[in-house]
């Protein structure tokens, strides 16, 4: 059977001693860095990327994938124990996970997060192995026309994943597209928005954008009030309560949630622009809506941890599908992965699976191994993570700052990236003040140049006839999906008052996120 053959090939690649060791190192380092406040998967991968420069491409990608899962799990650990989410999707875990920790159930929460992630990881790996070979067939039907509308769909999805006003999210996406235009135009060789600065001719580095907008801006925000030190230096009253037994009743609540979360995450992860962020929110909303006692949510409901954590991890895995089969980054992390692949001379796209089956199936098999390592590593090491987290913020933030500076410098071995990081840090702080979520900007920055390129090609092929976007069935379908997504987002955006009433009815959920 094909599936077994492929998985066998993958396991043979992934289980070579070198790959196992690098997968283990990647998972461990990813967790260690990802558990630090403010360092989400994007920053973690950006920081640890240089580690993989000297490696064989397959090994490098396996290690990067390990870093990714590790960072994501590390973020959940920080969210549960200290209510310090390292990334957007971990915010959901804070809601009930930290409540559980406050009630002395930190061990339960961490255990459920780990097991839920592992289960989701196993299912998602199998799913990828089954679905992925079908996708390149579809991918070959993708010409510039379809790619252009696919990018448009990604941008539409970016608008919907932002918090707050949809108009602002749309504007942020467009601004990101403009930032993506900086540098030399591929088709004409014209330099756009370069201001005569040679460092800008190659374009703005993604690391500078992501690290500045999220990392640096967040540091300044944390240093604003007196709450910063208090929050980071709260010590850990729950540390000694960590235990491994999960009461039977809790288990029976957790596993169906985990199952549903896996399904949601696996599906949303495949959509470009959706990814883990959307999936954890979707899973939390579903669990709360179908629960017989929705009032428990926000007060330490175990389903509120099991569902989103499973969804998160399943999506983290399936987000590799569009990357490996279509060459499309479905989120910022995958955009970094594209960078890493091209660095090793691999052009992501439909041809990878055929031309480089060792890479493709090796990566898929290593996903499962990486998840296994996550469980093995993290359960016994929770006590250590807690000690790392109890670092005082006044010591922690200079450390993070130094890591960001050196990380930015090492990207292109140039000070320009550090200066750009500072610029985007300032911009990110301004956006915080103006209530603008930076996530759509990052997606626009990544997808914008690809949209332009494909749009140009498609229209040149069609001799300037713009109707090709509606006459191609795939393209028309993608456009329809974009419109529906935006319409749905416009709908939910117009209902803030009603949701505020709901929050007021459940006081526990209203007072919690402030912490």
């Amino acid at each position: 059977m094909d599936l077994l053959n492929n998985l066998g090939l993958g396991l043979a690649v992934a289980l070579t001693p070198a790959n196992v060791i690098y997968c283990l190192i990647g998972t461990a380092l990813g967790t260690a860095v990802g558990v630090l406040p403010g360092l989400g998967p994007v920053a973690t991968i950006a920081l640890l990327l240089p580690l993989t420069y000297g490696l064989d491409p397959v090994t490098a990608l396996i290690m990067l994938a390990g870093i990714y899962y590790g960072a994501q799990y590390g973020g959940s650990t920080a969210s549960i124990l200290l209510s310090l989410p390292g990334e957007i999707s971990a915010v959901v875990t804070v809601l009930d996970g930290h409540q559980m920790a406050r009630q002395g159930r930190a061990g339960d929460a961490l255990l459920v997060a780990a097991l839920g992630s592992f289960f989701a990881g196993c299912v998602a790996t199998l799913l990828i192995a089954m679905v992925a070979p079908m996708l390149p067939g579809i991918a070959l039907k993708f010409g510039p026309t379809e790619y252009a509308t696919l990018m448009a769909l990604g941008l539409a999805a970016a608008v919907t994943l932002a918090r707050g006003s949809m108009l602002k999210a749309l504007a942020m996406t467009l601004l990101g597209v403009l930032f993506g235009m900086v540098g030399t135009d591929v088709s004409s060789g014209a330099e756009r928005f370069v201001f005569g600065v040679p460092e800008l001719a190659d374009g703005i580095d993604f690391v500078a954008v992501a690290m500045g907008l999220f990392g640096i801006a967040e540091i300044v925000r944390n240093l604003e009030g007196t709450a910063a030190d208090a929050a980071a230096e709260c010590g850990c009253p729950t540390a000694h309560r960590v235990h491994w037994r999960l009461p039977r009743a809790e288990f029976h609540r957790a596993w169906p949630a985990s199952l549903r979360g896996t399904a949601i995450g696996a599906f949303l992860g495949m959509l470009p622009g959706g990814g883990p962020v959307l999936s954890s929110f979707a899973s939390y909303m579903l669990e709360k809506r179908i629960s017989a006692e929705p009032q428990r949510f926000g007060r330490g409901a175990i389903e509120g941890v099991a569902g989103p954590e499973s969804a998160n991890n399943a999506a983290a895995q399936t987000s590799f599908i569009p990357l490996l089969t279509l060459g499309l980054p479905s989120n910022a992390v995958m955009a970094l992965m594209i960078g890493a692949l091209t660095l090793h001379g691999i052009q992501p796209g439909p041809q990878v699976m055929g031309s480089d089956p060792r890479l493709f199936w090796g990566l898929i098999a290593s996903m499962w191994i990486g998840n296994l390592f996550l469980v093995i590593l993290n359960l016994p090491m929770i006590a250590l993570w807690i000690r790392l987290l109890s670092l005082r913020y006044r010591l922690l933030y200079p450390t993070v700052l130094a890591l960001c500076a050196i990380g930015a410098f090492s990207v292109g071995n140039s000070s320009a990236t550090v200066l750009m990081t500072a610029f985007f840090g300032a911009l990110g702080y301004l956006f915080l003040k103006l209530d603008c979520d930076p996530a759509p900007l990052v997606v626009g920055f990544v997808l914008g140049p690809m949209l332009e390129e494909n749009l140009r090609r498609a229209l040149t092929l069609a001799r300037g006839d713009a109707t090709v976007f509606v006459t191609s069935p795939i393209s028309a379908g993608l456009l329809l999906m974009s419109v529906l997504l935006l319409a749905a987002a416009g709908n939910t955006a117009r209902r803030p008052k009603r949701s505020r009433k709901v929050a007021a009815a459940t006081p526990a959920s209203a007072d919690e996120p402030a912490r």
């Binding site: 504007a171 640096i216 540091i219 300044v220 933030y397 130094a402 410098f409 301004l430 914008g448």
Partner: protein, 157 residues
């Protein structure tokens, strides 16, 4: 009750308008071309124009709505953090990683009043040493460790 416009929306709208206009202005010399053969000026101009329109819509909507004002900017942490980064960028080439990490840490710690100098000194020294070991020795990033012209330690280079 007096009408308080949503300054966050007005500010954001103004910012988007400014960015869109800048894109239109800076790209005015690029060939626009036509749909069949787009020039380098086509896409940025379209995006710029859309951004101006969206910015205006956001600002107008904001002016009509009541909202809490913008929380004050925390200038001290902002300047300390950005200043530290700029100083790092400027010094790393001539002075090397150790010195520039020291500078970054010392300036970054000015973000809030009341951090002790002794702690700053110990932290800066530790970070400089640790980052040197981590990035240069362990990760082998080709970053200069010592100031220009100083022969670096033989077992590192």
């Amino acid at each position: 009750m007096a009408h308080i416009p949503n300054w966050r929306d007005i500010g954001a709208g103004a910012l988007f308008c400014a960015c869109g206009s800048a894109a239109l202005w800076l790209g005015r010399h690029h060939a626009v071309g036509n749909l069949a053969a787009m020039g380098p000026g086509f896409f940025p101009s379209v995006i710029g124009a859309l951004l101006v329109a969206l910015g205006a819509a956001i600002a107008v909507r904001g002016a009509r709505r009541d909202a809490p004002g913008i929380t004050p900017f925390a200038w001290r942490p902002l300047l300390a953090v950005l200043g530290g980064l700029v100083l790092f960028a400027v010094t790393i080439r001539p002075a090397g990683l150790l010195a520039s990490t020291l500078a970054l840490t010392v300036v970054g710690r000015l973000a809030r009043p009341g951090y002790g100098w002794r702690e700053t000194a110990v932290l800066a020294a530790t970070l400089a040493l640790a980052s040197g070991l981590l990035f240069r020795v362990a990760l082998r990033v080709p970053v200069p460790l010592l100031p220009n012209g100083w022969t670096s330690v033989p077992w590192i280079s």
